[in-house]
């Protein structure tokens, strides 16, 4: 039973309706047509011909009405008057008058009430949408893989909601918003640019439906332009080392360091065109696979056509200006920096934050921070913004008192002017915030916060940035025991939320 659903659908063959049904249906249709013609016929007392099913039994194109027999049915034109017509009361009801209007109105009301009783809104063919833009989007099962780096006149469509089993309107996405793997984006119109941590960029062109992947994604319908000019330094992140791939219902387009366009039409057929470099195009299913095609600059290919048909690759011609390759950018661009535990679940290792140092432990080795189980006095997590992270060193994230741990993250300003960067955020720690350092230079708030768990501390940085990779470090200490009988271990935690912008390099 371990089948591929698309493969199975591809094996389906057409179903034939019963042959005898054809004559039955066409006879009924012919009768219906004749009745209408007869009722609107010219003469009273005339005869109206009715085609029998016999003359329609042969396949279309071979039927010849001039030679096929036509049965004639004589319809009486003069209907005998009803015996009730002589009754005055009956006549009164059948006359057009105020009373008949009243009867009609009452009948209409009864019909409306009856429809209400049958709960017409619950009928299967009545489709309703849940439009709740204020509701937070579903939390992704996977990590945050990139940011929205451009948006131009976006109109959002409907996406499928796993929780409610029906479509709901896509929550508007703004510039600098983090994007998680598994997120579905439905764009009715406009342009949306996503920059992955790998450095790859996707420019969606509405109308389009796109499922974000670890490095690339699945384009259900619509157009996009993909670009991977140079791998980002941040591709040190494990998931970002995977190839940049755009998948579609019929094909997989794998980037080989290039700029390319992909379009999926309404039948699932995929058209790929390369502007620079090269891509590998292959069919997406194992059945009927006809191999792989490598496209170079100014070449295009189409994989088609529909599910259930043979998938074949053929070269085609596509005008280069058919795809939008650039988006109108604002003056400032987002800094790709992530809050702690962003888009993760409890127990996940944070790919963006590491614990890089611990005092009093000579054997310590740097390790990813861990999304910690929340403690009652820490406050709520916000998976879309930040969550509490800790270390895996102690039992149940309890660490020796007196030890200081250094949490670290990094971000790339290669495409931005470092002297124009502004980074804003806030943090909460357990127990003590010792220092915050940007590129080794202390930028801690003037007031050293002892226990930031209750109110946190805000942070605004507008200097100290360097060209290229920048490192932000937060030192957190597990406090000394306040009483002699306290445990010698205590929870360690950091929650930090960050966002920033800088001017684009000319």
């Amino acid at each position: 039973m371990n089948e591929n659903v698309e493969t199975l659908i591809g094996t389906l063959t057409p179903c034939r309706v019963r042959a005898e049904l054809r004559s039955r249906v066409l006879a009924a249709v012919a009768k219906e047509l004749q009745q209408h013609d007869g009722s609107s016929g010219s003469g009273a007392g005339g005869i109206a011909p009715v085609f029998s099913s016999d003359n329609l039994a042969s396949p279309v194109g071979t039927a010849d009405l001039s030679t096929d027999p036509i049965s004639i049915i004589v319809r009486p034109s003069n209907v005998a008057p009803s015996p009730l017509q002589h009754l005055p009361l009956i006549n009164y009801f059948t006359q057009v008058g105020p009373f008949s209007y009243l009867v009609s109105a009452l009948a209409m009301c009864i019909a409306v009430l009856a429809a209400w009783q049958y709960k017409m809104t619950d009928r299967p063919y009545r489709v309703e949408f849940v439009n709740r833009p204020s509701v937070s989007p579903d939390i992704s099962d996977s990590v945050c893989v990139g940011h929205v780096t451009g948006a131009d006149e976006c109109q959002w469509g409907h996406v499928a909601s796993a929780k409610e089993g029906r479509a709901k309107r896509n929550t508007p996405i703004t510039i600098s918003s983090p994007v998680s793997a598994g997120r579905q984006i439905a764009l009715d119109s406009g342009l949306l640019e996503i920059t992955f941590r790998s450095g790859a960029q996707v420019l969606l062109q509405g109308p389009a439906v796109f499922d974000v992947g670890d490095n690339g994604g699945f384009l259900t319908i619509g157009k996009l332009t993909g670009r991977l000019d140079k791998p980002s330094r941040q591709s040190l992140i494990p998931n970002a080392t995977s190839p940049f791939v755009i998948q579609t219902p019929t094909a997989a387009v794998t980037d080989q360091g290039t700029e390319f366009g992909v379009e999926v039409d309404e039948d699932g057929g995929t058209t790929s065109v390369v502007f620079r470099g090269a891509v590998a195009v292959q069919t997406s299913t194992s059945v009927n696979r006809t191999g792989e095609l490598v496209l170079h600059a100014n070449e295009a290919a189409r994989v088609g056509a529909d599910l259930g048909n043979a998938l074949t690759i053929s070269r085609t011609n596509v005008a280069a200006n058919y795809f939008t390759r650039n988006i109108k950018r604002g003056e400032r661009g987002p800094i790709h920096v992530f809050g702690t535990g962003l888009g993760l679940r409890k127990g996940d290792r944070d790919p963006w934050w590491q614990v890089v140092a611990a005092t009093g432990d000579p054997a310590f080795k740097p390790e990813p921070a861990l999304v910690a189980p929340i403690r009652h006095y820490w406050g709520w997590n916000s998976p879309r913004g930040s969550q509490w992270v800790s270390t895996t060193l102690g039992p149940k994230n309890l660490s020796p008192r007196g030890a200081t741990y250094t949490f670290s993250t990094s971000f790339d300003l290669s495409e931005l002017l470092s002297d124009t960067a502004v980074l804003k955020g806030w943090c909460m720690v357990d127990d003590e915030l010792i220092d915050i350092r940007l590129n080794g230079r202390s930028v801690a708030p003037a007031k050293n916060v002892y226990d930031a768990t209750s109110y946190g501390c805000s942070l605004t940085l507008d200097e100290g940035f360097v060209e290229g990779i920048n490192a932000l470090e937060v030192e957190v200490r597990v406090g000394e025991p306040k009483e002699s009988n306290s445990y010698n271990i205590s929870p360690l935690g950091l929650r930090m939320e960050l966002s920033g912008t800088a001017s684009w390099k000319p």
């Binding site: 089948e3 389906l12 034939r16 249709v29 209408h36 489709v127 599910l307």
Partner: protein, 195 residues
Amino acid sequence: MLSAMHEKERHCVEETLAVDTLQQRLAHGDPLAFAELYDACADRVGHYLLVRLGSREDADDTLQETFLRIARTRQELENIENLAAYVFAIARNEAARTKDSRTRRQCGQVPLSGDDLFICASDEAETDVNRAAEIIAAALGQLDDDLREVVELKTYGRLTYQQISQVTGLPQGTVATRYRSALVKMQRWFERQAQ
């Protein structure tokens, strides 16, 4: 081979339905035009109705009602943008009426056998095809109706996203999204069954 046959047949169907004069002849009540329309799309509509209603008898009756309703409202046909979508839209409404009627009559639905689910157009690999049809039908049964309907229209009706959008009144992107979601759910169901 089968896929090539489907493609050829599909093109024939679309080509037939795309002829403007057919709509005009239908609108004027030409019985032969209705025969052409029947030959072009009855198999697809019938298959969709069969899966939708789960009863061959109901599917046959509903197919007849569909064509009768098209005949009654034939004056509208000249203004129809997509004839195939129009036919399926009427079939969909008739199927809903049949379901309602069945519910009011409190008639139970008799499960379809493998042969009822699928009558092969070809003898090739008949066993595999019937098996695939049964598996897909079982997976469809796990879906919510809004997702299931999109798959039925796409798979059995062989409509495009655009046509399904016209049939259901949903945005084209929503149709594509639902189809994709349905396939994912069906795939997960397959995987659960395999375990």
